[in-house]
Every structure is written in structure tokens, then in C-alpha cells.
């Protein structure tokens, strides 16, 4: 009776489009030009809004904000791979995906200006999208629950749930993946491994060689992809969604990417990482790479690029103008949505609040 092998596991890596624009035609997903262009446009819109919000924050025109620059590929690819009835569950760096799902450009502005109204989506968008998840990893079991619900209802829809690399350390990540696996819930979990959780580098977050291999703990199919390669992200998420719809349960994807900017505008990366590392990753960033791909496919050129950028900047300008012209919503609105129906003590406190409001607000 020597030691015998009980089980063997492998973790694979997928890249289709490399940082120089080379791509593997065998693995290339079958996306029509219009879709490829939609993907690119989605990433550009996120990048432009991100950059603008950075400026607005520096000027004190919005509050603390967590940029997404460099991480446009995974969630944009997800939005492309998803169907209308699929649930989109983000962490807080999925701006590109949210915009592609239909979130108005004004919402992030409202949100980062401290207004809950920034979480209210147009009905057809909001019905299958959760707001940003600030409590790290708490969205993971929620996504499993959403997955259970759509399966319970016999829907053909599925769930895509994003999380960070740091999020994989939280108990909620573990519990959520385990439930999803036991229920064979139709959920694709995408961990955006952007190498940092604030100041903690990936290697200090966990000792595992990959984040993908954490799926083995739950017997969940898992894969690492180049998270700056929109094609690999798309192919992997699509494969996960197809599996989910076919009853094959959840998937865990590690998308290897990089947080090119600060954690939030309150953070200073110079405290903990070298500019050289950032520079290296700027070379690999997804927009540049995808542009090369589109150019190689003769779908893109300088003129189109300039036109798109102009158009998107105008859109962002208009959104900022709308945002800045929006009168703040009623100050007593927080009393409104505590419960579906108000309660006597809240009514009383609201009267108290309103009675002093003028004096208090002027203070």
C-alpha cells in the first residue's frame, strides 16, 4: 500500500492577442466586425471617463474615486459575451463593462459625488445589474444566490461576477464559490488580478502560484487568461457562460491585468511600487493592443481613432455638464428608502431634520 495518487489537476493559461498585436488565428473568437468595434469603443469610453474623473477629483468636483485605467478588457469582454438577461455583478473596477451594459456616463459622476442616485440605472440596465460592491468579496455569495435564483426559475440566463485579487483572501470568496459549485449555479467568477490590493502585491496576498487554481478547492473549472487581451477574456468568459447555460455550473477565471494608476485618488503608489513596473505594464495595456488588432484586420486607422476619441470626449463633456447642472437631490431623501413604508420614528426624525435643515446646512 504505497502512497497512491487520488487526483490530478492542471491550470491553464490563455492568451490570444499578445502585447505586440500578434494573435493566434486558431483561437480567435468568431466576432463580427461590428462587435469588435463595439468592444473597442466600450473600452475607450471607460478610459476617457476615467481620465476625466481623475481630473474632476483633483479639482474637487467629485469625491474619492478608484480609477479603472488599464483594466478595461475583462469587464468589457464580459459585457460582450453576456446576454441581455444575464446578471452583471461588479466589484468596483468594471467601468467599461458597466458602460457597455448601458450605464449612463453620468452615473459614475453622481456616485463619486456622494449621491446614491448614481446607483440608479435605467430600468432595462438596472434590472440585471448590482451596484458597486464596496465590502470586498461580499458580492461573491450574492452572485451565487442570483445564480441559484435564475436556475430555480428555469431561466437560460447566467451571472458574471467580478472581484479583485485581494478579494480572493476574504472568507466570502471561499463561501460563495463553494455554494456556487455545490448548487452548480450558472456563474462565471472573474478575478481581476491587477497585481495589487492597495499596497499589497499579489505575491503577498496569497502563496498560490495562480489565483485560478483556487477553483480546484471547489472542483470548479478554472483558467488564467491574459486580462489585457480582450480576445482571451472574451473567449474565456464566453466558454464559462456557455458551460453555465448548459448546466455545467460555475467557472473561475483569473484575468491577469494591472492597475496602472493609484488604488483610489486617496492613494499614492509611490509609497509602495516603482514607476518602472508601471511603465512595463503600460506597454501591455489593452487599448493599444486591441487597436493594433483592429488595424491588422483593417477595421481601424488613425482617422477613425481620432473621430472616436473626439466623439467620446464630447459625450463625456456633455455628461459632466449634465452632472454639474443637476441640482442636489432632496436632502431628506435618506429617510425615504430605509424601508418600503416609513415608520413613526423615522417620520418624527424627518420632521426634526427638516425643521433645522436651513440652519444646519448653512453651517
Amino acid at each position: 500500500m504505497p502512497r497512491k495518487t487520488l487526483a490530478e489537476f492542471t491550470v491553464e493559461f490563455l492568451q490570444i492577442l499578445d502585447e505586440d498585436g500578434n494573435f493566434d488565428a486558431d483561437l480567435e473568437p468568431d466576432l463580427p466586425p461590428a462587435e469588435l468595434l463595439r468592444l473597442y469603443r466600450g473600452m475607450v469610453r471607460a478610459r476617457e471617463l476615467d481620465q476625466r474623473m481623475l481630473k474632476l477629483q483633483r479639482q474637487g468636483r467629485i469625491g474619492t474615486f478608484g480609477p479603472c485605467t488599464g483594466q478595461e478588457a475583462p469587464s468589457a469582454a464580459a459585457a460582450l459575451a453576456m446576454q441581455k438577461d444575464d446578471w452583471f455583478v461588479g466589484a468596483f473596477r468594471e467601468l467599461s463593462g458597466r458602460l457597455l451594459r448601458g450605464e449612463p456616463l453620468t452615473n459614475p459622476l453622481y456616485y463619486y459625488n456622494g449621491w446614491e442616485e448614481g446607483n440608479v440605472q435605467p430600468p432595462e440596465v438596472g434590472r440585471r445589474m448590482l451596484p458597486l460592491a464596496v465590502v470586498v468579496a461580499s458580492q461573491v455569495p450574492q452572485a451565487a444566490g442570483l445564480g441559484y435564483a435564475v436556475k430555480y426559475r428555469g431561466e437560460q440566463s447566467a451571472v458574471v461576477c467580478f472581484l479583485g485579487d485581494g478579494a480572493t483572501s476574504e472568507g466570502d470568496f471561499h463561501e460563495g464559490l463553494n455554494f456556487a459549485a455545490v448548487w452548480q449555479a450558472p456563474v462565471v467568477f472573474v478575478s481581476q488580478n491587477n497585481q495589487w490590493a492597495i499596497s499589497i502585491p499579489r505575491a503577498q496576498q496569497t502563496r498560490s502560484r495562480t489565483l485560478a487554481q483556487k477553483g480546484i478547492a471547489y472542483e470548479i473549472p478554472c483558467l488564467q487568461v491574459d486580462g489585457n487581451d480582450p480576445l482571451a477574456c472574451y473567449a474565456a468568459i464566453k466558454e464559462g457562460l456557455d458551460r453555465a447555460r448548459a448546466g455545467g455550473g460555475p467557472t473561475l477565471i483569473e484575468a491577469v491585468t494591472y492597475r496602472l494608476l493609484m488604488h483610489t485618488t486617496a492613494d499614492d503608489p509611490r509609497k509602495y511600487r516603482d514607476e518602472a513596473e508601471e511603465q512595463e505594464w503600460w506597454r501591455k495595456e489593452p487599448l493599444l493592443r486591441f487597436r493594433k488588432y483592429l488595424e491588422a484586420k483593417r477595421l481601424w486607422d488613425e482617422a477613425r481613432e481620432n473621430a472616436l476619441r473626439d466623439e467620446v470626449r464630447a459625450e463625456v463633456d456633455a455628461a459632466v455638464a449634465t452632472f454639474e447642472e443637476t441640482a442636489p437631490w432632496p436632502p431628506d431623501r435618506p429617510f425615504e428608502h430605509v424601508f418600503a413604508r416609513s415608520e413613526p420614528h423615522l417620520d418624527q426624525q424627518r420632521r426634526e431634520f427638516l425643521a433645522g435643515l436651513k440652519e444646519d446646512a448653512d453651517a
Binding site: 446614491e116 446607483n119 472568507g171 460563495g176 455554494f179 428608502h337 430605509v338 424601508f339
Partner: protein
């Protein structure tokens, strides 16, 4: 009307709501095949199948976390914490998500779910199986905390909790699970959440309690009323949060005296809030300090020494007498 224990009455509520509304489902540890460690969910998996009565893995945060997902997706999950003493593992999902989904999205998403949990002592149980910490949940805005005291109101309040459009913590006094029976109508009965009940009118003293403390309190009231001839008004809180101060204050305005009986440790508990509300509204009517008869501010003792820590009948009797005599 059949006479049911609280366990049976809660089971009836669950069974009827599930039969009526297929959005209602149950999830938790051992709630399915085993019917729950207290048999509260007995027979429900047989009746409704394992997709509606889910035996989950052992993970409280995921039980609530997945229930939140289900609720947002339009289902009406009833999650069970096996004991309230293990509910702290999900407090961040409660505080951070369940109670905030509505305000966070200005009503676009809501979280209609119930978290049932047996709480309280007196059943000679192991460590962590006897606590009474309703105040922790009561302080967190956006959620409700309901505590029935008997089979009939347990049934009627649970129905209301399941139908409530907002998240409800439903704390079940496990000491009362089987210790007595009440007539519970087969036909639907619903009691409003947020309303205390005057279970006995009186004019000399107001006594307030909830959950398992109601039974010894009623005995004490009978005894002290008999001894002294005092007319004692008894209020069963039923909902701890939002607190029905109107009913309590109206009563104390008439009686001028009040005793609150609370199983939980004394400091920073629900009784303190009741006193604060009385202070706000009826201070000038008070003829004696409001008396708190409570557990002590010690780590819940193991059961060998638990009995004298949960307000026992003689302490309640003394407290009523003292307040009447003040």
C-alpha cells in the same frame, strides 16, 4: 383550533407561505432532510422538494449572502441561522448589504428576506447556544427585528415577516419552542410588524418584555397583582426594532411606573432604548425610575451557572414590588 407548540406554529407559517407563493424558499444548515436541529422545518423538504428547502454547506455568511442574491432576484428566501450565536458570521452581509440594498439603489433593488434564528438561554445548551443579542441587530438601520413570545404570535408574525418588503431578523426564543402550546388557527393570521401588544391592561404599573421573558413576567404579574392588588399593564414588544414607543409611552403616561424585563446583558440593550424613549416622551409622568431586570454584563455563563443570570421569577417579582412601592 389545534394546540400547537411554537415549533409547530412556525412550521405551519412556513408551510402555508410556501404553498401560497413559490418565491418563498428556505435555506440553512440541516433545514432539509433533518428538518432543522429543532425540527422547525420538519417535513418541508418532503413537501416542497430540495430546490425549495436547501440544505446548505456550513457557512453563515454565504447563507445570508446567497439569500440576498435570491431576494434581489425576486425570491423570498427564509434563511436559518442554526443558533443566533453563530449569526455574527453574517453580520457584515446584514449590515453591509441586506439592510442597505434599498437605500443604496433608491429602491431599484430591494431585499425582502427573513433570517430566522433561535436565541436565548434556559435549555442547558453548550457555549454560544444561549445568547440574547437582539440589541446588536436593533441598532443597525434598514432592517427589522421581530421576537415572538408564543406559538400564535410567532406564526402570525412570521407570515408578516416573509411578506415584508424589507429584511427582517426573526429571533425565536428557543426556551419557548416546546415549553407550552397555544391554539393556533389553521386559517391565515397575520400580525403587523412594528406594533407592540398590550396583553393585559392595567393602571398602576407598566411592564414590558419580549420573547422568552414574557412567561415568567406574566407569572410575576399574577403573583404581585394578587399580593398587592396592583393593576399591572403588560406589554409584549413583539417587534424590537422599529420600536413601538407609542404603545409604551401611552401606557406609562397612565401608570407612571415601568419595569422592563430583558434576558440580554443589561448595558446597551433594548431596555435602555425603552428608557430613553420614556425619557423623551413621558419623563414628567414617571413616579419611579424605570427598572431594568436584565441579564448581567458578564460573558454568558455556561449552563451550569446560567439559571440565576437570566432574570428568574423571584427577581422579577422583587422588581415589580420595588417599583410599585417606590
Amino acid at each position: 383550533m389545534p394546540k400547537l407548540t411554537m415549533v409547530q406554529a412556525i412550521n405551519l407559517a412556513l408551510q402555508q407561505e410556501m404553498a401560497k407563493d413559490d418565491r418563498v424558499l428556505i435555506l440553512g444548515e440541516d433545514v432539509g432532510v433533518d428538518g432543522g436541529v429543532f425540527r422547525v422545518t420538519e417535513g418541508l423538504q418532503d413537501a416542497f422538494g430540495p430546490t425549495r428547502v436547501l440544505d446548505t454547506p456550513l457557512a453563515e455568511s454565504a447563507i445570508l449572502g446567497t439569500a440576498i442574491g435570491m431576494a434581489v432576484a425576486g425570491l423570498r428566501p427564509v434563511a436559518e441561522m442554526q443558533f443566533s450565536g453563530f449569526s455574527y458570521l453574517m453580520v457584515h452581509q446584514w449590515e453591509g448589504n441586506a439592510t442597505r440594498m434599498r437605500s443604496r439603489t433608491q429602491g431599484q433593488h430591494t431585499c425582502p428576506l427573513v433570517v430566522r434564528m433561535p436565541y436565548g438561554g434556559g435549555v442547558r445548551a453548550l457555549e454560544h447556544h444561549s445568547e440574547s443579542r437582539e440589541a446588536v441587530y436593533a441598532h443597525i438601520p434598514g432592517g427589522k427585528v421581530v421576537i415572538p413570545s408564543g406559538p400564535r404570535n410567532a406564526r402570525a408574525l412570521l407570515v408578516a415577516a416573509i411578506r415584508d418588503p424589507d429584511p427582517v431578523v426573526f429571533m425565536e426564543p428557543k426556551h419557548s419552542y416546546r415549553s407550552f402550546r397555544e391554539e393556533v388557527p389553521e386559517a391565515e393570521e397575520v400580525m403587523p410588524i412594528g406594533q407592540a401588544q398590550v396583553v393585559q391592561p392595567g393602571s398602576d404599573l407598566t411592564v414590558v418584555a419580549w420573547g422568552a421573558m414574557m412567561r415568567p413576567l406574566l407569572k410575576a404579574v399574577e403573583q404581585v397583582g394578587g399580593e398587592t392588588g396592583a393593576s399591572i399593564e403588560v406589554i409584549d414588544l413583539l417587534t424590537v426594532s422599529p420600536l413601538d414607543s407609542a404603545t409604551i409611552c401611552d401606557s406609562v403616561r397612565r401608570t407612571g411606573r415601568c419595569v422592563v424585563v430583558q434576558e440580554a446583558p443589561r448595558s446597551f440593550g433594548v431596555a435602555s432604548e425603552i428608557i430613553a424613549r420614556l425619557n423623551d416622551e413621558v419623563l414628567l409622568y414617571l413616579e419611579a425610575p424605570v427598572k431594568r431586570l436584565t441579564g448581567y454584563d458578564v460573558v454568558t455563563p455556561y449552563f451550569g451557572r446560567e439559571k440565576a443570570y437570566i432574570p428568574p421569577l423571584p427577581r422579577i417579582v422583587r422588581g415589580l414590588r420595588e417599583t410599585l412601592a417606590f
